[in-house]
């Protein structure tokens, strides 16, 4: 039954090679079979002739699988293997053989080798001898049909000889002898393109070999670049006149020089050879030191110091700090306006009334003069009988009092200038003193003026034990401090004029005190010794700060009206500006003067400060202090004022600003006071 079923498949077509006996499809189209059926060897292939052979079509068709040409693996997991024509499932034959059964069957069954499985039905088929024979033949690449002879003799349909009569007498095509239109079009297109330059002739091939620059992309500035660090070899000295074959006679060595040359060590010689004179170039002998010289040159190159000098290319202009132009910082004093003449000796000290109407000056001629500022008129002369070291006008505008240092005493003088009510009230204030009941021990003596002195204006005399060199008022005008030339702790004394009471604030001497100063706002007291400025808090009675001036000998000191900045002049011609909030070292050290500074001053309102020096000049600087704590003060020198004549090697002894105008006064050793506006 199964064979029956297979037969039409087994021999479908004797000429068609079958790749594999199991793979050829059972479902080959029916059409293939029909014309070839007569050639088939099998007598039983009765497909073309169904009526002749009883064909169990019903049972055969039933079993046909209808799933089509699909991979049969799809039905692997199902119990059926497809569907028959009626749509009923075709069940796989039951296979319950395990490996052992299979093996046993392989061993026992003699036809095992010719049994194949039909994929479509899953049934085992035993191949017949013919079928096996067919398989063998196909495997060998032979035709399936045994009787087919592939080497039958060929029959020539046409002779190979050219006959005199053609087989056909068709005339040649016209197109074979007229030029082709299509080609013509193509050529004209090409010609047009060439004309228009769309097609260019091929460039001649450049047959120069191409080289690649390996280091083209290397960064020349990279540290590895060796050539960057190139140090040129030291140049040889060019030959001079000595090397000439005919040097001028002054280059020839004399006998002594030659001897000296020979005595010298070869390394010490200035010249390594003796200059020689020859009549002509022809007469010049061979150079015997040639090898030696070349060797030395090689040594030079080998041992030359390979060091690079780092040169900084900076425009010197850039190093100068950018300062505003003095023109933009006006007003400041520029020209001498008035000269106050009258003193006969050097004018040591100056002070001005708080209103700015009167000026007081003390001189070595033993007098104190009061001047009208606006006209340079000497209003009063007060002979005090000694060198006046210091004068200080009371800064309180309601008190008209001047403190004057004369030798060992401080005079409190009422100049009787200005408002009558004011100086009357000042007298009343001084007279209203009631001595305390118990006498207190004081370092100084307060002596009321005698009648004669009173008529001159002197109200009180504070007698010190030693010579007084400076006096300065506190801003409120009641206290004043005096400095005594002494080496003990009694150098600085603080006095209260209304109570006629003096005290010695310091227990120990910290050095030679140069000058003292009251802070304009806070209870601080500045004491300048030779090298340091000490800041004391008067309320807490302690040392607050110690400023290092970096100077050898401080001469004078002034405080900014804001109270946070101090300037110190020194005898070594330096001016140190301290920002008290910033540091105890100078914020700036100005060295504008050529000689010792004698005096420094701040203006009360304008951002100006001035310094007077032994070189006879006053230098006015713009010193702007900003409210912004982050911004440092701006110091710009704006003007050098000259006018004083050097006398006894001394120039300007004191400088002072007008309280309201941008004017500066200077007193000099030539006995004059000058006003610059």
């Amino acid at each position: 039954m199964e064979l029956w079923d297979l037969r039409p498949h087994a021999e479908p077509h004797p000429g068609a090679p079958i790749s594999s006996p199991v793979s050829h499809g059972h479902h080959l189209p029916q059409l293939l079979f029909t014309p070839l059926a007569p050639r088939g060897a099998a007598a039983c292939s009765g497909a073309p002739n169904p009526p002749l052979t009883p064909f169990p079509s019903a049972s055969l068709q039933d079993i046909r699988n209808t799933v089509g040409n699909i991979p049969m693996e799809w039905y692997q997991d199902f119990p059926h293997i497809g569907y028959d024509l009626e749509g009923k499932k075709i069940y796989k034959p039951i296979r319950n053989k395990d490996e052992l059964d299979m093996f046993l069957e392989k061993m026992e069954n003699p036809d095992y080798w010719r049994t194949v499985q039909d994929k479509m039905t899953g049934a085992d088929i035993k191949l017949t001898d013919e079928q096996i024979d067919l398989v063998h033949r196909l495997q060998k690449g032979q035709f399936g049909d045994v009787h087919f002879n592939p080497y039958e003799p060929a029959v020539d349909f046409f002779t190979h000889e050219v006959m005199i009569h053609p087989v056909t007498n068709r005339p040649a095509d016209k197109r074979s002898f007229i030029p082709s239109l299509i080609e013509k079009e193509k050529v004209s297109k090409l010609v047009h393109a060439i004309k228009m330059g769309w097609i260019k002739p091929r460039k001649p091939k450049d047959d120069t070999p191409t080289y690649y620059d390996l280091w083209a992309h290397e960064d020349p500035n990279s540290i590895l670049g060796r050539h960057k660090m190139h140090v040129p070899a030291p140049k040889m000295k060019l030959p001079g006149h000595e090397e000439s074959y005919n040097p001028p006679p002054e280059y020839l060595l004399s006998e002594e020089e030659r001897l000296a040359w020979e005595q010298q060590e070869p390394a010490q010689r200035r010249l390594s050879f003796v200059p020689q004179q020859h009549r002509s170039l022809r007469a010049v002998p061979a150079f015997p030191r040639f090898i030696h010289e070349r060797f030395e040159r090689c040594l030079d190159l080998y041992l030359c110091p390979r060091q690079r000098k780092m040169r900084v290319n900076v425009d010197p202009e850039d190093l100068i700090p950018k300062l505003p132009k003095p023109r933009d910082l006006q007003p400041f004093p520029t020209t001498q306006a008035l000269v106050y003449r009258g003193h006969t000796s050097l004018v040591r000290c100056l002070s001005i009334s708080p209103s700015g109407q009167w000026l007081v000056s003390g001189s070595d001629d033993g007098s104190v003069r009061f001047w009208e500022v606006s006209t340079a008129r000497c209003m009063k002369t007060l002979p005090v009988g000694g060198v006046v070291k210091s004068v200080a006008w009371n800064p309180n505008p309601t008190i008209c009092l001047v403190a004057i240092c004369v030798e060992q005493s401080v005079l409190l003088v009422n100049p009787c200038l200005g408002d009558k009510l004011l100086y009357g009230a000042t007298d009343q204030l001084l007279e209203s003193f009631v001595p305390p009941e118990e006498e207190r021990v004081q370092p100084v003596q307060w002596v009321p003026a005698t009648m004669e002195e009173h008529s001159k204006g002197i109200r009180l005399v504070v007698q010190h034990s030693k010579a007084v060199k400076q006096v300065t008022w506190h801003g409120k005008g009641d206290y004043f401090a005096s400095v005594v030339s002494d080496n003990s702790n009694m150098q600085v004394l603080i006095h209260q004029s209304s109570k006629r009471w003096s005290q010695n604030p310091f227990r120990r001497s910290k050095g030679l005190v140069q000058c003292v100063l009251f802070h304009p706002i806070r209870p601080y007291f500045f004491v300048a010794t030779q090298r340091y400025v000490r800041v004391y808090n008067l309320l807490k009675q302690e040392l607050t700060k110690k400023l290092m001036t970096n100077c050898k000998w401080v001469s004078s000191m002034a405080i900014h009206p804001g109270g946070d900045n101090i300037i110190c002049g020194s005898y070594d011609s330096k001016l140190a500006w301290f920002d008290l909030d910033l540091s105890t070292r100078p914020y700036q050290l100005l060295r504008h003067h050529k000689r010792a500074l004698r005096s420094v001053a701040f203006h009360k309102h304008y951002p100006l400060f001035a310094s007077g020096s032994d070189d006879g000049s006053v230098i006015v600087c713009h010193g702007m202090v900003y409210n912004d704590l982050l911004q440092n003060p701006l110091l710009v020198p704006v003007k050098v004022l000259k006018g004083h004549v050097l006398t006894l090697d001394l120039g300007v002894l004191d400088v002072l600003f007008h309280p309201t105008q941008p004017w500066v006064f200077s007193s000099g050793a030539d006995g004059t006071i000058r006003l610059y506006t």
């Binding site: 007003p331 306006a337 109407q357 606006s374 006209t375 105008q661 506006t677």
Partner: protein
């Protein structure tokens, strides 16, 4: 030699020349042009006498070669230049030198007498011939300013302001040559630096170092004003102050922040004051209100007003004399500065008769006579003083006066030319 075409013109009919363009050498100066005009005049008028002329181009005096001047003034030399000529102002003729005992702080002269204030605490009256007529002593301090109030043939009223904070009103009997202090004006708390009498001669204003301006009555009365603080004044002082009856101010004008250096009346209602606080302030005398402020950048020493040209001239603590327009509201615009002095200008005074001329004294010992039409150089330098010049004055009679720190008062006669009167 380059030539320029110029047309000459004058206001003075006596010296008119033909109004045709003349060709003049480009480098010609004033003297050359003057000779040219004189030749033209002589040709037209046989009995013409030589007259010196001065030349003005666009209102500026010619002080250098013509072509240089035109280059500086940017005048085209291609066109015809219009040159105006006036008879040359004659130099002031020195008349008198009056010696004082001390510095002269102030001077004011009339047609008959000269009044000076002096640093020896006196005021002095002099005749125009330089004869000392009267010495007025009474102040206890330097006399800073003096002013005439009224002049009659019998008696004169005059004022003196002093550093002793008072202004004294004096009556001077001319016949008997006696002087009497009528009133002592108290109220200032600083030296009184400047006084000015108004045009009605009934009021005066004083400016003081205490930053105040005070207006007082200048009319003598028999009553004494009450002093507010009379009680607490020391008794000793009162005795010395028995010079005349005490007078208190009618009004006080405060507004300056520094000393007032100079005051004047612009007209009957307006007061002008110059101060050390770098301002010139104009005040309404009736209400005492501040009308406007002119701000400079230097201390003002002196200010003067000319009703003819309505300009203020100020001298300050620099070398310049500045001209201001008082009508400009807070513009603080300097119209012109006259620069030739080398020291502070202590005193300026406009000519009472000429709208272009003024006189100035300076700390450089020189008095300069200016014409505002030549601001680079003055007309004349009067260099007679040997020390600082502190005050100058110019009378209607054409008398220039200057006093200074060399204790001398110099008088110059400055003839007013016909063209001045015309102007």
């Amino acid at each position: 030699m380059a030539q320029l075409t110029a047309r000459f013109r004058t206001e003075n009919r006596r010296y008119t020349v033909e109004d045709v363009p003349f060709s003049v050498p480009a480098a010609s100066e004033t003297t050359d042009l003057s000779q040219l005009i004189n030749k033209l005049l002589a040709a037209g008028n046989a009995d013409h006498k030589y007259v010196e002329f001065d030349f003005l181009i666009n209102g500026q005096f010619l002080r250098m070669p013509l072509v240089t001047h035109m280059e500086m003034e940017n005048i085209s030399t291609e066109e015809v230049v219009e040159i105006e000529y006036v008879e040359k102002y004659m130099a002031p003729q020195p008349e008198e030198c009056i010696f004082h005992d001390d510095w002269i702080s102030s001077v004011q002269a009339t047609e008959e007498w000269i009044l000076t204030g002096c640093y020896d605490q006196t005021a002095r009256i002099w005749s125009l011939e330089g004869k000392s007529i009267m010495t007025i002593a009474g102040h206890t301090e330097v006399v800073k300013d003096v002013a005439w109030v009224k002049q009659d043939s019998l008696s004169c009223l005059l004022l003196s302001a002093s550093m002793d904070q008072t202004v004294l009103l004096w009556e001077w009997n001319v016949e008997k040559n006696k002087v009497k202090a009528l009133h002592c004006c108290r109220g200032h708390a600083g030296s009184v630096d400047s006084i000015a009498v108004d045009c009605t001669r009934t009021k005066f204003c004083s400016g003081s170092w205490d930053k105040m301006l005070k207006i007082w009555s200048a009319v003598p009365t028999d009553e004494e004003d009450e002093m507010e603080e009379g009680a607490n004044r020391p008794r000793k002082k009162q005795k010395t102050e028995q010079l005349g009856l005490t007078r208190t101010p009618l009004a006080t004008l405060s507004g300056h922040t520094e000393a007032v250096s100079s005051v004047l009346w612009i007209d009957a209602e307006e007061i002008c004051s110059a101060s050390w606080d770098h301002t010139i302030k104009l005040w309404d005398a009736e209400t005492g209100d501040l009308k406007s402020t002119l701000t400079g950048n230097k201390v003002f020493n002196s200010v003067s007003y000319s009703p003819l040209c309505r300009r203020l001239a100020s001298g300050s603590t620099d070398r310049h004399i500045r001209l201001w327009d008082p009508r400009s509201k807070d513009g603080s615009l300097v119209l012109l500065s006259l620069t030739s002095h080398t020291g502070w200008v202590t005193s300026v005074k406009w000519s009472p008769t000429h709208e272009h001329q003024l006189i100035s004294g300076s700390l450089d010992n020189i008095v300069k006579l200016w014409d505002t039409r030549s601001c680079k150089a003055p007309l004349y330098d009067l260099a007679a003083h040997e020390d600082k010049v502190l005050c100058v004055d110019w009378t209607e009679g054409g008398l220039l006066l200057s006093g200074g720190a060399d204790n001398k008062l110099y008088c110059y006669r400055y003839p007013t030319t016909a063209s001045d009167v015309g102007a």
